[in-house]
């Protein structure tokens, strides 16, 4: 017979798998109490009433630590009620290993009872009940879309800068072959100047680019090329081959290495708090800040978004999102929200929704916002409180730039 402990790895794997797929369900406390009562009765029957029992329990479910502790307390109480004496260490009349696992439909208590050289398995299922997490609260925040600019040439990124010395707001638009600088003058954006981007190799077909303004400086990142400029002087871009191609996500220091010949990040991040070990390649990332730590979500090439906390192993998986995500610190709700696009391809209109990560679950906190075409770029803006979105309008063929933000109330 296979020792029970050898089942732990597959159970762990399975639990992690289900954790990934179905974190949105839990069971009521009453259900757990009933299940604990039932399981205790079966254990008592197997171990013999009045027996001394060495008992341990492992939680492989997606329950939080407090819920798992409560479940354990409930089971221990029921075992005592059933007439068993729980001892903290052998010797004992019986050894009982209990695992709290789960599958897509239910939680599962699995008990292995070892007594007198025999072992017996007992299982009790606890149906999942809809909870607050499964039925997220009605979205309480409001997603705002503000149109900025449209043009027929592709837009890779854009940056809205506060007024310069002339008192006029500025807009920088990153295109495949140039950066164009506009001033908001006479009620419209007017081209002030532009600067070509020098590059020796052809761009990747799905060309992506990032523009980080910092004071008067403008840092432009493209696959295998980086450029810099000073926005207040004569607008000249200094570009150079940059095989390392490290792109900055935001002004708070997170960065990652971008492939020079493809459309994704190679997986090494800095500033996220994650060890710079081999993370999987990803299309986009969201960094959720808190005083204690940074949680990182990577949008993988396989269409799954992985949530990382402090370790290089993901702790949750989110499906049903598109390839582009970004986090902003709106100060509303849980302070940080993640914008996520929808699945599909570039022949279909896209949409955007904001989520908060609550107990490792993605909970929608705004109504979805529709666009007239696929989202081609999504980056956190330099203020950290909004995001820059580029959409290719399928009706007009034009590229449209929007600023996305969140307000706290309807």
């Amino acid at each position: 017979m296979r020792p029970f402990y050898r089942l732990i790895p597959p159970i762990r794997a399975m639990a992690f798998f289900f954790l990934s797929l179905s974190l949105s369900c839990t069971a009521s406390a009453q259900d757990f109490d009933r299940a604990a009562h039932d399981l205790a009765a079966r254990i008592a029957a197997a171990a013999g009433s009045g027996a001394k029992v060495f008992f341990d329990m492992r939680d492989l479910s997606s329950l939080g630590p407090s819920e798992a502790a409560r479940a354990r307390q409930s089971l221990e109480a029921e075992l005592r009620k059933a007439g068993l004496y729980l001892v903290k260490a052998p010797p004992s009349d019986a050894v009982v290993h209990v695992m709290l696992a789960e599958n897509v439909q239910e939680y599962l208590w699995v008990a292995e009872i070892l007594r007198g050289g025999t072992e017996q398995m007992e299982m009790v299922a606890i149906p999942r009940a809809p909870t607050q997490a499964q039925s997220p609260p009605a979205p309480s925040l409001v997603l705002h879309k503000q149109f900025v600019w449209r043009q027929s040439a592709p837009i890779l990124d854009f940056a809205l800068l506060p007024p310069a010395a002339d008192g006029l707001p500025r807009l920088f638009v990153l295109e495949p072959e140039r950066v164009a600088a506009y001033r908001f003058d006479q009620s419209r954006w007017q081209l002030q100047e532009d600067a070509p981007i020098q590059h020796a190799r052809p761009w990747p077909r799905d060309l992506r680019g990032r523009m980080n303004p910092a004071g008067d400086a403008l840092q432009v990142s493209l696959p295998g090329v980086s450029c810099s400029a000073f926005a207040r002087r004569a607008f000249v871009l200094q570009c150079a081959e940059d095989p390392k191609s490290e792109w900055r996500f935001s002004e708070t220091g997170e960065s990652a290495t971008f492939s020079s010949v493809r459309n994704f990040f190679s997986g090494v991040t800095a500033g996220s708090g994650l060890p710079q070990t081999a993370l999987p390649p990803f299309f986009s990332a969201a960094f959720l800040k808190s005083p204690e730590s940074t949680r990182t979500i990577l949008s993988g090439l396989d269409g799954q978004a992985l949530l990382y906390e402090d370790l290089p192993q993901p702790v949750a998986t989110f499906t049903g999102w598109g390839s582009d995500i970004a986090a902003i610190g709106s100060g509303c709700g849980a302070a940080w929200q993640v914008f996520a696009t929808r699945p599909g391809d570039w022949t279909q209109p896209d949409g955007m929704q904001a989520y908060e990560i609550i107990e490792r679950q993605a909970v929608a906190v705004t109504q979805p916002l529709d666009f007239d075409g696929p989202v081609m770029a999504l980056w956190p803006a330099s203020d950290g409180k909004s995001a820059s979105v580029v959409v290719r309008n399928l009706k007009t063929g034009q590229y449209e730039a929007y600023s996305l933000s969140i307000s706290c109330s309807r």
């Binding site: 399975m14 897509v104 052809p202 077909r205 010949v261 459309n263 799954q304 696929p374 063929g397």
Partner: protein, 476 residues
């Protein structure tokens, strides 16, 4: 009990993995690199060289699709048929359209790494167009002609003016997104991604093309997962869609018509030709024989191309047809209508025409023949519609089957001039338009970003922008 636990774990994991796999197919929106697209087609293309002309319109159409994988042109057309930069980034011309300057794109390489230069482009285009004087200039090339060439941009967007280099070993080289890795004429081709394509490496690693596959075999291969992209005959498109297949339908890109053979006694009587034309119920052909896979055509050019097709009625006029036929004395012998023996659609149409004709007294004998056989009075013809302009479309039809050009006025560019020529062709009843047909493709679920350009832009399948949705495990 242990066994039960293990079984439970295995079953749950398998179910979960299946669920996960299903989710994966539907998720990522950005392009995925990697994978091989498996394409099947009925035509047997014997050469990819744009300079080799093929007599069969269906083969030419298939060849055009493959050519665009490998070779670029100076100009491409947008969805409205307007010229856009390709290998040429800009251009200008003099007031009488005889002197054109083209600026060439920089840093473009052929698939063997050789740089594209103005000298090479000038030489290639001069070979393809001996009537033009083409010279290399510092910025690009100059094209000069003794007569105005106002539609030069449309011409340069055609496959005839593809930029093709012949390597010393005889292989063909272009600057397009795929290179020819294997070429078995008429049977099989393999195209692999060209990493240094000026528009960026395509997402697919390769495209495998099987030629000479029957429509039935293609549909079976699609259904059993052995093909990703297959042709669907127009008359089977509806059934395929109803059976759950993923199908895509193009604009109307083909004209199916009866083409009378000049000099055949049965075809020489204009009254007989007109009687046959007026006897045909095109609505029934489109709705029943083609299962709504086509549109009734009284004109050569579709309404959406010419804008005046409504001036050519498509409805039958049985009374007039009967009257015309009764004027013919003696009664003509049965009219032999030939159709391509390998095309079930043509056969069904020919048989339907025979039924319509019989209602007016005309005896039509459908006959499956090879094109070499000369004993048919008329043929069913499938003619490609050139969407670059109404003028080009009509010119191509005139070239293919029209009456001798001497009987037609010179083809102008204005709608009135084009209409006059089309009316002249139709009123001879030497070419009887029947239906306009679309191209229909069946696609596997993995094919993503399927967005062929419009027929006005040449109907390119744009396979360089397609990616495969299934995880290939080799995203790079």
């Amino acid at each position: 009990m242990k066994r039960t636990v293990s079984q439970f774990l295995v079953a749950a994991s398998v179910a979960g993995l299946l669920l996960l796999a299903a989710v994966r197919v539907e998720s990522a929106r950005r392009p995925r690199y990697g994978g091989t697209l498996r394409v099947e087609m009925q035509a047997a293309v014997s050469s990819l060289d744009p300079a080799d002309s093929s007599a069969e319109p269906s083969v030419s159409a298939a060849k055009e699709k493959l050519i665009s994988l490998v070779f670029d042109r100076l100009i491409r057309l947008d969805a409205n048929g307007h010229p856009q930069p390709a290998l040429a980034t800009s251009w200008d011309h003099d007031s009488d359209y005889k002197h054109w300057k083209f600026h060439l794109r920089q840093n473009v390489r052929f698939q063997d790494g050789v740089a594209l230069t103005q000298d090479v482009v000038a030489q290639i285009l001069a070979t393809a167009n001996p009537n033009w004087k083409i010279t290399a200039a510092g910025y690009g090339i100059v094209i000069e002609s003794g007569s105005p060439i106002p539609d030069l941009l449309s011409q340069l967007a055609s496959s005839h003016d593809s930029i093709v280099r012949h390597a010393p070993d005889g292989s063909l080289l272009g600057t397009g997104p795929f290179r020819i890795a294997e070429w078995q004429p008429g049977r099989r081709a393999v195209f692999t991604a060209f990493d240094d394509n000026w528009e960026g490496r395509p997402y697919l690693d390769s495209i495998n093309v099987q030629m000479g596959r029957s429509p039935r075999d293609q549909m079976i291969d699609l259904q059993v997962g052995k093909a990703d992209l297959v042709e669907v005959p127009p008359d089977q498109a509806r059934r395929a869609a109803e059976s759950g297949a993923r199908v895509w339908t193009s604009q109307l890109v083909e004209l199916l018509a009866v083409d009378f053979v000049l000099g055949r006694p049965a075809a020489e009587d204009a009254r007989l030709r007109e009687a046959l034309a007026r006897s045909i119920d095109r609505g029934a052909l489109a709705n029943f024989v083609l299962q709504k896979g086509g549109e009734p055509a009284g004109s050569l050019l579709p309404q959406s191309l010419s804008g005046y097709a409504f001036l050519f009625p498509a409805a039958p006029d049985t009374a007039r047809a009967r009257d015309l036929f009764q004027q013919i004395s003696p009664v003509p012998p049965p009219l032999v209508l030939g159709y391509d023996s390998s095309d079930p659609l043509e056969r069904a149409v020919a048989e339907r025409i025979a039924v319509n004709a019989r209602d007016t007294g005309i005896i039509v004998t459908p006959k499956a023949l090879t094109k070499e056989a000369a004993n048919a009075d008329a043929w069913l013809q499938r003619l490609r519609i050139d969407w670059s302009s109404p003028r080009n479309a009509l010119a191509r039809i005139e070239d293919a089957v029209g009456p001798p050009k001497a009987v037609l006025p010179a083809l102008g560019s204005s709608p009135e001039e084009i209409y006059t020529n089309e009316r002249a062709i139709v009123d001879t009843f030497r070419l009887i338009p029947l239906v306009h047909l679309s191209e229909v493709y069946g696609l596997s679920a993995q094919v993503r970003n399927w967005a062929p350009v419009s027929a006005a832009a040449g109907g390119d399948l744009r396979l360089a922008d397609v990616w495969l949705g299934l995880p290939s495990g080799d995203a790079r």
